[in-house]
Symmetry: C2
Subunit: 604 residues, 2 copies
Amino acid sequence: MKIHVLLYADGGSASLEAEAGITIRELFAQSQVGFDAPCGGNGRCGKCRLYAAGALSEPEERERSFLTEGELRSGMRLACYARLLGDCELRLPEENASIETSGRSEAYDFEPTVTVGEATLTIPTLKNPLDDRGNLLSAAKAADASYAALKKLPALTRAGKWSLFYVKDGETVLDVCPEKPKAAGMAVDIGTTTVVAYFYDLETGRLLGIESGLNEQKGFGADVISRIAACIDMPEGLRALQEAIIGQLNGFVQSFCRKSGFKRGNLYQATIAGNTTMQHIAAGLSPANIASAPFIPCSLFGFTLGAEQIGLELAQAAQVYFSPCLSSYVGGDITAGMLACGLDRMKDTCLYIDIGTNGEMALRHGGEIVCCSTAAGPAFEGAHIKYGTGGVWGAISGVRADTMRADAMRNGAVQIDFETIGGVPPIGLCGSGLIDALAVMKRLGVIDETGRITDPDELEDASLAPRLTEIDGEPAFVIDPESGICITQKDVREVQLAKAAIAAGITCLIKEAGIRVSDVQSLLLAGGFGSHINGASACEIGLLPPELEPKIRAVGNAAGMGASQTLLASGSYQRLTELVACCSYVELSGYPYFQEQYIEQMMF
Amino acid sequence: MKIHVLLYADGGSASLEAEAGITIRELFAQSQVGFDAPCGGNGRCGKCRLYAAGALSEPEERERSFLTEGELRSGMRLACYARLLGDCELRLPEENASIETSGRSEAYDFEPTVTVGEATLTIPTLKNPLDDRGNLLSAAKAADASYAALKKLPALTRAGKWSLFYVKDGETVLDVCPEKPKAAGMAVDIGTTTVVAYFYDLETGRLLGIESGLNEQKGFGADVISRIAACIDMPEGLRALQEAIIGQLNGFVQSFCRKSGFKRGNLYQATIAGNTTMQHIAAGLSPANIASAPFIPCSLFGFTLGAEQIGLELAQAAQVYFSPCLSSYVGGDITAGMLACGLDRMKDTCLYIDIGTNGEMALRHGGEIVCCSTAAGPAFEGAHIKYGTGGVWGAISGVRADTMRADAMRNGAVQIDFETIGGVPPIGLCGSGLIDALAVMKRLGVIDETGRITDPDELEDASLAPRLTEIDGEPAFVIDPESGICITQKDVREVQLAKAAIAAGITCLIKEAGIRVSDVQSLLLAGGFGSHINGASACEIGLLPPELEPKIRAVGNAAGMGASQTLLASGSYQRLTELVACCSYVELSGYPYFQEQYIEQMMF
């Protein structure tokens, strides 16, 4: 039997085909996917870790011995052991991300608010004529029952001889069933660019599947400002944008159900983490006043709405929790990410940064958290860059010069190497490749401190001269002579603006907290881009403070992990509420020091 | 300008026409409606009280001086003073009912859970970027806002320069409006036979209108058992019956809105009191197991559902409260009625009876309430009685023999008089007329102790002989020789069964409470039938214990008044919960003493 495997790696994805029954390692060998196992694939080291969801063999004792309960729950498997039984999805962790994930999944107990139980009701008699609802509430130790459950109850109690299964959300019975129901939940990270939904078994905590795609609102504009404009300018604009994202999530649900055998009626809860605008649109609330000063959201969320109210097709009585936002530009994705990273319980001084179109950041110091958001622009996401691209198969994700400059000069020529996602021929540069390229250009003297690409005759290393060219009348530096992929002067300027905004934001938070850069004990980089960035390069170009380079840790899709934690750990609503209470927001657009720093940080 | 006036009196109703501008007294004089005012219509006695809703003059100081605040709120007016300005509805109180109503309306403070307020929001700035929702909640001192309110909020705050009106239900903002909204509520009494909706202004507590009609479910059967059968037997039966009653209530809302100028969006709350089956069907919950032993309801209610959930077309976020039931056959109409009569706060030993198809009764004694329900059958509602009819225009509602039996014999002939609702020619007998007729027949020796109609030659008073006849081969006694309206032997048997059930139920409650009949200090008769019954006749035929005759008090539509109180007094939910907690239910079908008493009480 041929099966289909969707592989996520290095920020991109690929479809692979295989015969059912082989191990993941065998699949990778057949498909020439590079994946190291220190023991050579003998199943002895437990290092060939990855995340897997779908039709896989159950982990056996040997495999279990290498993994913690938390890791097993998060879907982590060993490639040597796990066998592919049907369609599934695999996600390669990078070294850092994998450490972070396992650390995080051990940090909270699996204790979802949604629980499944069996109730044996009292058989009512003339002398004890208990009503069905009261009978259920007392057997299920619940305080209330949903309307959907009440409608099913009378027939069910009698058919099941007064024994039935129930699904509770906290104190409320959501559903009653004759057979033990599967219960799953959906944790959603709605990014402006991409949307990811994680589906979990709410009885075991296991990851059942991941669905993702580009945000279907993309036709309405690439960034939040153009999406808000579409809500304002188009008749029924908000409704159209809401239908786009909710329709996409409903599609994810359908796709997950098709693959997993779950039904939408088995999905009893959803949690959503997104930036403030994305949460407004998903909830059907107007984001109109987010776009212009004084940047006022309709709501900061931190509450649930009925899935039915927003058109999400889950179980009838399912509730959808929206992560709390801090302001119009520090949203539920950031609070969820902070939760996932445990910023609320951290004693260290810690800087958390999510770099995308906006750079949102939070600095935890001495029990308080200060936050801000800077408009970095979409350069790091590949927009407005000549050869820019997202993190897709074929994107150049890393660039390096083979030697230090001194060596290169000794040997006569500098070799510039690059790698692409999936190892296929290059089609463009994604954010991490762009930063690497700029760092290389700076080290090689191709750009000066002001960001100007030097004339060929100014080059210290003449062997680079053939790489200097002109595109549309402006200087450019060729990264790959074969494909012609290059960095233009304008690209350099875009990166300068973006990195200055983020660097200035960091400086402002440091100042607000009354500390020095060197006091920061860890720097967490969240989001797809933050996970792939080369820390040394980011420090080289001044995007991040150089003295924090050894303290950088990528935390992957922290927003998605936070949404997952909110689904899987019942104390999360409370923790998020407390986290928000210790946050203060600094609005940089009214902050003179930011302007000053912005200009200063423009230099390389 | 011609206006239309709907007049409810003596359990029936009539349409009258008049010129706008005249007083109610002038209308009654023109239309020959009998209505006493001891002062002869000079506006000096304040006795010409009635309930009025619709387009009427505002009460002036003189009129106000005769009425309490509670009475004014309940819609009470004086016929001498109130002028008809447009279409309206009038309801003549009977002497007893009017006393009870005014007593009751003084017994609770007008303090609805739904309130209207004006909020001045803080103008948000860059330094204080309050989200709209948080801004509203803090200005309106609320804990939550409905989804409907959130959707309107962003546009409204800016259009209204940060000042707006809100409608709260308890701690939740239901709605926000640019102008001060009208706020009304609907209190509904859903009877198996009739449905009445009272519309109140939630700002002043004033009765704005009453809509009523025969229950639209009548096509599915006359009693709760046949309605339940329809729910079980027909495909989508429950849905059809729910649509019938909810459609009827939506029609009431439309009719009320048309007359009053309110919109459905101004109706922010509803309360429903009905028997257990009627509440199930209105809520869309299966009543299937109410019909057969052990008589188990799906729910005993005492909670709210969203108006939208049950299809009721009120304001978007409006909640509908269902009165708590005690059992399958002691429903929310009884608890609401007990609330209206203050049974929960009463120190006296008090018997509360609602006679309809079922006789539901409750006995308050020493802080406890014992309740039961007996299947009286529909005789008192006119069904299964040869010339039976409901309380409509032309129904014989009272029958009396002009003299005591001894006098009659002295004078040679007994004159039998009757009165009809509206004073028009008779069309049949309603419940109160039926009981009077039986009492007269018993007094005149037309029926013996066993209920047998005597042979003409056995009559003590020969002048009655012409009234004895045969219908379809069974003996009958003619009440009105002109129309031929009579009581058949079978009618007598129907009444015997009905009265025996109720009398036996009373005996059981008395026994349960461990008291004697003479300990009962008041006997409250609720419901349309209970209000029109002649207490002496009811005692004469043994429907009610003769020694309680002087303690009988009719309390009118107590269920409707209880639903109204639930709408108008915010403490009512709590009071109903406490009331239910001190009630115990006696299931008579498993109670041998009841069988014994049932047979014993069959005799006249």
